[in-house]
Symmetry: C2
Subunit: 231 residues, 2 copies
């Protein structure tokens, strides 16, 4: 056990909200240290920031080791915000990131890994819960004016998949024809396979990185209807 020098610098950590999507559900990746007991303490994957490395490189390294998540598995990364904790005269800061991955996959690593639907999360620390909530709020907001949803989907998808993801994230249902009309009018999709009979047309986003829409989707007023079918 270490004693911490009072004149040390604050401790710096990095944490990730790793989101995936599959079949109408958003999943969050959590980790728990391997422990003999059956009292599992789930938390956001995190890592100390190592001297000479950035928070992102420290985190990436840790994620590979602990939960087997490789860089290629990550389709999108974004800094969220930095939280601080002052405890026992010690300051620690944590730089939080949003990670997104295409499709819901399980990984293997040194730590225990869990993939939880975001409406059925296990008990988390207040901090972790707040960070996860913030990430989902931002994803929601950003879905209305950017192509961020594409990073949760396969490269090619049909408009039904896209709409379902859109509806899941924004928690609002939209008319199919209006959604298609709007989405196509944004001029960010390209058709990669034409529709044939009962198979839908497939599309992909023209630009592989995040694109901001010229004309955002309108956010529904507070008391809007939600036709989402119960799962």
């Amino acid at each position: 056990m270490y004693t911490i020098d009072m004149y040390d610098n604050p401790q710096l950590h990095a944490a990730a909200v790793i989101l995936q999507y599959s079949d109408g559900k958003i999943y969050l990746t959590l980790t728990a240290k391997q422990s003999g007991g059956n009292n599992i303490n789930w938390q956001l994957p995190s890592s100390p920031v190592f001297q000479g490395h950035t928070s992102l490189s420290s985190l990436s390294h840790q994620l590979k080791q602990a939960i087997g998540l490789k860089d290629d598995d990550v389709s999108y990364r974004e800094q969220l915000y930095t939280t601080e904790l002052v405890q026992d005269g010690q300051t620690s800061a944590q730089i939080c990131y949003l990670f997104m991955s295409r499709g819901a996959k399980w990984h293997k690593g040194e730590d225990q890994v869990g993939l939880f639907p975001i409406d059925r999360l296990p008990k988390l620390s207040d901090d972790d819960a707040a960070i996860a909530r913030y990430a989902l709020d931002r994803l929601h907001a950003k879905t209305l004016y950017s192509s961020i949803v594409s990073f949760l989907l396969p490269i090619a998808f049909d408009l039904n998949d896209l709409q379902q993801a859109f509806e899941t994230i924004t928690r609002q249902s939209v008319d199919r024809r209006n959604f298609r009309k709007k989405m196509l009018s944004l001029n960010v999709l390209q058709e990669t396979r034409v529709a044939t009979g009962t198979k839908p047309a497939e599309y992909s986003f023209k630009h592989p990185s995040l694109v901001l829409f010229d004309a955002p989707f309108k956010q529904l007023p507070p008391g809007a209807k939600s036709n989402l079918r119960a799962s």
Copy 2:
């Protein structure tokens, strides 16, 4: 001069983009260490994060001491993002904040203080310049869907002042009647003094903290006209 322990934690700093507004212009506060020479090195006000304190409290303390900025002078605070720098095997991180203050005031403190119109900034480090640009972009975006502009204005203002600030920040000019109609329709203003003859009515925001609009202003397409008069 200190030697830094290789096994030390990363260094942590905090920096502030302090914005003020007066009469159609946005001002940024910069500091420079008092120096005998006439080669002045302007930079964003910043502070190390002290053990046992948060970045915000460290920064506030530093701002009071260095440039005489008291907490009461600050109408709005928001975290921007955290930058990192890896140099000589040392990692340092800097948590950046946006600060806003009502009206353009000069302060006095230990350091040299400068209030620069944002279109005539002195030479800054690439990092500082990027942070300032980011802050202004965010202010621009947020002005379209929130009451953030109110923190640059006196508590009470008339619609002309509000519109001028709006136009300055968003770099777009809008029709006066349409602006008033839109702004009043948002239902976030209260009239604090009725118009009398040639004196305009005064308003203030109903809610003193940041309010998000139900119906945001529309962002103009790239090639939009700008009727801003040259200053």
